[in-house]
Symmetry: C2
Subunit: 76 residues, 2 copies
């Protein structure tokens, strides 16, 4: 999957069949994030789109923790 | 609850005890939105904050549908 670096964060955009499918994905991401103790910003917009933004605020940018979270999300 | 009008949308910010509680709220909002067939933009950020943005894209601004959705969310 294609994460891009944007403003000190890893960003990826997703598009789904509908809002319900988008919410299923968001809840899977939330479960992975809780398990890792590292939480992405999640924007659900336009009824079927999701944008994930991963950064480590305490470090002011992308860290290995963000990269590991991105890899875990890619495995969903 | 205090919705503000901002750029042709109704916007409200929420803060929760933690990410899990924020996700419970988001899923309740999603259920209400599905029932109404009208979907807010939902931003989950800073591990415990949620921003809801309600607008009717086809009308280019806030409509009664947005106000009804806001009222339904207030009842959660």
């Amino acid at each position: 999957m294609a994460w891009r670096e944007d403003g000190g964060a890893l960003v990826q955009d997703y598009e789904f069949a509908d809002f319900a499918v988008a919410m299923v994905f968001v809840n899977k991401v939330a479960k992975v994030a809780e398990a890792m103790g590292h939480h992405p910003d999640i924007l659900i917009h336009g009824w079927n789109k999701v944008r994930l933004t991963l950064t480590t605020h305490s470090e002011g940018g992308v860290t290995d923790l963000d990269r590991r979270l991105a890899e875990a999300i890619d495995r969903l």
